[in-house]
């Protein structure tokens, strides 16, 4: 293994983590959208995520693109092996994007309700499936010696992966509710606060269950933790942040609660990545066939060129992302003209 391969493992981890933190809340908002019935509340929700949701999704694209360029074997195996699952995510995201734009184009309640439902379903499906994907990667995929996926679509729906699907879902909806507390006012913010409280219980409970099940059935994920003890800081940090969510939310410190939730997601992603390294896709049937940062990476030249481009590009992306969030900071104002 060379340093570049390790750096790219880290960078892809960063891209996907930022994606989870950013798109996580707008997928969560999509779920809570189901629980509103007033048109102006729904519009407030869409306006809360309106300026940022599409920018957030770009992190998933860059994550996928970086995997393609840095670890082409992982891209080939995962994108072929998980073809149907990825298509489902894609269809959901298509509907979600179109719904946001189309709903306000006609005042008819039937038109609006239809697109509102499509928006919620288009948010719920990816919110569930991303967790299922992470669960499957942690658990390992059936591979053969030529790095090809040998399982079926139904193999992906194993209990361990489904548990992670639910955990990811609880994480996103908690995150989404906290974002709504931050962005809305009055009655709506109060409801969002209660939603966050109930979702949080599932979040913590499912995380506890996932940790226990992992220790019992996937001990290989703990190897790194026993050889490099300092890694325990990640899961401990994540759990501390999840507890902090509760405290801040009760004290109506919306900003801090949302920040805790974001950091909890970072902690959980780091926990999973630390357990996985140096594997990218562990082979379920024969550890020799696993895709690792060594056997799945592209050439040193490619990784070097990409690193230079990433170092040039990333500050710009981070810069404009911060600028957008600064521009649209504060509560969504109902009096001013709502865009959606």
């Amino acid at each position: 293994m060379n340093a570049l391969q390790a750096i790219w493992f880290l960078l892809i981890g960063v891209l996907l983590t930022v994606y989870a933190v950013l798109d996580g809340f707008d997928l969560g908002v999509g779920f809570w959208h189901l629980f509103t019935n007033k048109d102006e509340h729904r519009r407030a929700f869409l306006n809360a995520i309106g300026p940022v949701w599409d920018g957030n999704e770009v992190w998933l694209l860059t994550g996928g693109g970086a995997i393609f360029a840095a670890f082409p074997h992982v891209y080939a195996t995962v994108f072929s092996g998980l073809y149907l699952a990825l298509m489902l995510v894609l269809f959901a995201l298509i509907f979600r994007a179109v719904s946001i734009e189309f709903r306000s184009k006609s005042p008819s309640p039937r038109w609006r309700n239809t697109w509102d439902r499509a928006f919620s379903i288009g948010s719920i499906v990816p919110a569930l499936l991303f967790g299922v994907a992470v669960g499957n990667i942690l658990h390992g995929l059936p591979l053969d010696a030529t790095k090809n996926f040998t399982g079926t679509f139904y193999d992906l729906l194993n209990p361990y992966a489904l548990l992670f699907g639910l955990l990811g879902f609880a994480m996103f909806v908690t995150h989404g509710a906290l974002y709504l507390v931050l962005k809305t006012e009055g009655e709506l913010a109060l409801r969002a606060k209660r939603w966050a409280q109930s979702a949080w219980v599932f979040y913590l409970g499912l995380l506890a269950l996932a940790i226990i099940v992992t220790i019992l059935t996937q001990p290989q994920l703990l190897d790194n933790y026993f050889s490099v003890r300092v890694l325990w800081i990640f899961p401990v940090f994540a759990v501390a942040m999840i507890l902090a969510i509760r405290v801040f939310n009760e004290k109506n410190r919306a900003g801090r609660a949302f920040l805790s939730s974001s950091l909890a997601i970072v902690g959980l992603c780091a926990t999973a990545a630390a357990g996985l390294f140096p594997n990218l896709v562990p082979a379920l049937n024969n550890p020799q066939w696993s895709l690792t940062v060594v056997n799945a990476s592209s050439s040193t030249l490619t990784l070097t060129v990409m690193l230079i481009l990433a170092l040039l590009g990333m500050p710009i992306v981070v810069g404009y992302t911060i600028w957008i969030y600064r521009t649209f900071r504060g509560k969504v104002k109902m009096e001013t003209d709502l865009h959606y």
């Binding site: 080939a76 195996t77 072929s80 092996g81 073809y83 149907l84 298509m87 269809f91 298509i94 509907f95 179109v98 189309f102 184009k105 006609s106 090809n148 996926f149 040998t150």
Partner: protein, 197 residues
């Protein structure tokens, strides 16, 4: 390029075709109307440049001629039509007769879908024209097919794409009709300035 222009023989001063019916079996273009040297000029910026013809490629590496030649030429023909139509429209505007000329306005209305079609024609020509290669001289399309994704899965995704896009197209047409039936807003030069500001 040879397939797009139906060029069978390698030659200098290679012509561009305004019209023609290329035949794979006869290895020639029937009823061709040629512009001598144009293909050489367009491709290499030089009337005398040599352009490699189809006969210098193995026949099993030829792309399907029909789906390469016709879409490309239809695209070019429509492109010329757009230029002519726009020029005529500008002429009418200059003569201050644009809004009285019913024939021109009807023609412009019915031309709305054409740019979309032209766009697709270009894609068809490019994608079919590069067959049988998916990466030129490196990888053939048939060798690039995933061995883990079954044909059934591909079919399913194609059907879903067709359904979703048809549905969205219908919704889009519905919205467009509503907007159009409202008619344009009354505009004055002052309001244009406002819109631009």
């Amino acid at each position: 390029m040879a397939a797009i222009e139906g060029l069978f023989e390698t030659q200098r001063r290679a012509p561009a075709l305004i019209f023609g019916i290329p035949s794979r079996d006869d290895e020639t273009v029937h009823a061709a109307i040629r512009l001598p040297g144009m293909l050489s000029l367009l491709a290499f910026g030089n009337l005398d440049a040599e352009v490699k013809g189809l006969k210098d490629f193995p026949k099993d590496e030829w792309p399907p001629l029909t789906l390469t030649f016709y879409p490309f030429h239809l695209m070019v023909a429509l492109g010329i039509y757009f230029i002519v139509l726009t020029t005529y429209g500008m002429f009418l505007l200059w003569k201050k007769k644009l809004f009285e000329n019913r024939l021109f306005l009807k023609l412009a209305l019915w031309s709305i879908p054409l740019p979309f079609i032209v766009n697709e024609l270009g894609w068809v020509s490019a994608e079919v024209g590069r067959q049988p290669w998916i990466v030129y001289h490196l990888l053939k399309t048939r060798d690039a097919v995933s061995i883990t994704v079954s044909a059934g899965q591909i079919l399913f995704s194609i059907i879903m794409f067709v359904l979703i896009y048809s549905l969205l197209f219908a919704a889009w047409i519905f919205l467009l009709r509503r907007e159009i039936s409202k008619g344009p807003e009354e505009t004055t030069p002052a309001s244009w300035k406002e819109a631009l500001a």
